[in-house]
Symmetry: C2
Subunit: 136 residues, 2 copies
DNA sequence: AAGAGAATGAGAATGATTCTTATTTTTATA
DNA sequence: TATAAAAATAAGAATCATTCTCATTCTCTT
């Protein structure tokens, strides 16, 4: 007899799914990833819950890449790289964001600072290789 | 007799306008600002030329604030602050972005890095005051 | 002055995101 | 356990920033 543990709440599934990936997906990406387990999940539900999580501070938005918002369940301060070729977003966990600047920023501006985002842009390895091939 | 120097090209006006402001305007903001001098300028022209300037590297996009893209004619590396209350974007010219990290980032990721964006978020002075008043 | 090519205006098209509403699921209460 | 109230969801419509289309207007060259 199978367990009667049914997972009715799709909300948890959305958060889990985001927490299990490192691709910094868009809402549509997540919707696609979730469909295996929840074939009837609605795109609106994904959007709705993502903004809820954002408000709750459970996740972060990385802003839009090519006009599409990307999300990250890792809310700890870390550095990102965005490839201008393919739109891939990578974590750069080796680097530490310059926390010293935060106090300095508050001091010189009078603004109360609650967040910091350091993002590099450029061309990722696989796009570099692809560009190379195209020249041949 | 008035000078016969007519400024037919609106393109230059758009770039000049962006260069003369520090508010990091949106396309619509610019369109509004330009209407004094060019009452018949089209919003499509503003958008069209902004993406041209971006491609040419004459201006930078700061990404979207509240779903609306914001632009900056200052392409030199500098730090931004975005107010989550009013959406205002401020320069923090006192701070220098950590250029040392860029080489480190290339080293550890293999990505070719072409740009860097350091952005703080929080509450600006005038929004802090307004919040204060609301409590009274 | 005429023709070719670039720039523009106006409005339609696009597409990501949000909203609405009817339905389903969950929780609270008896 | 039944039942009512509250929360969550699906589906599709609505919104709105941005891009596209195409007819017209400018600009430059000859």
């Amino acid at each position: 007899m199978e367990q009667t543990v049914k997972q009715f709440r799709k909300r948890n599934a959305i958060l889990s799914c985001l927490r299990c990936t490192h691709v910094h997906p868009s809402a549509e990406d997540l919707h696609r990833m979730l469909q295996a387990e929840h074939p009837d999940i609605s795109l609106a539900t994904v959007y709705r819950n993502l903004s809820l999580f954002k408000r709750q501070g459970l996740i972060r938005s990385l802003g839009a890449v090519d006009g599409i918002e990307r999300f990250d369940a890792d809310t700890s301060p870390h550095v990102h790289f965005i490839c201008t070729g393919c739109g891939r977003v990578l974590d750069l966990p080796q680097l530490t964001p310059p926390q010293s600047l935060e106090a300095e920023a508050e001091g010189c501006s009078g603004c109360r600072i609650t967040g910091c985002q350091l993002t590099f842009t450029g061309v990722c390895l696989s796009c570099q290789q692809q560009n190379q091939e195209e020249l041949t």
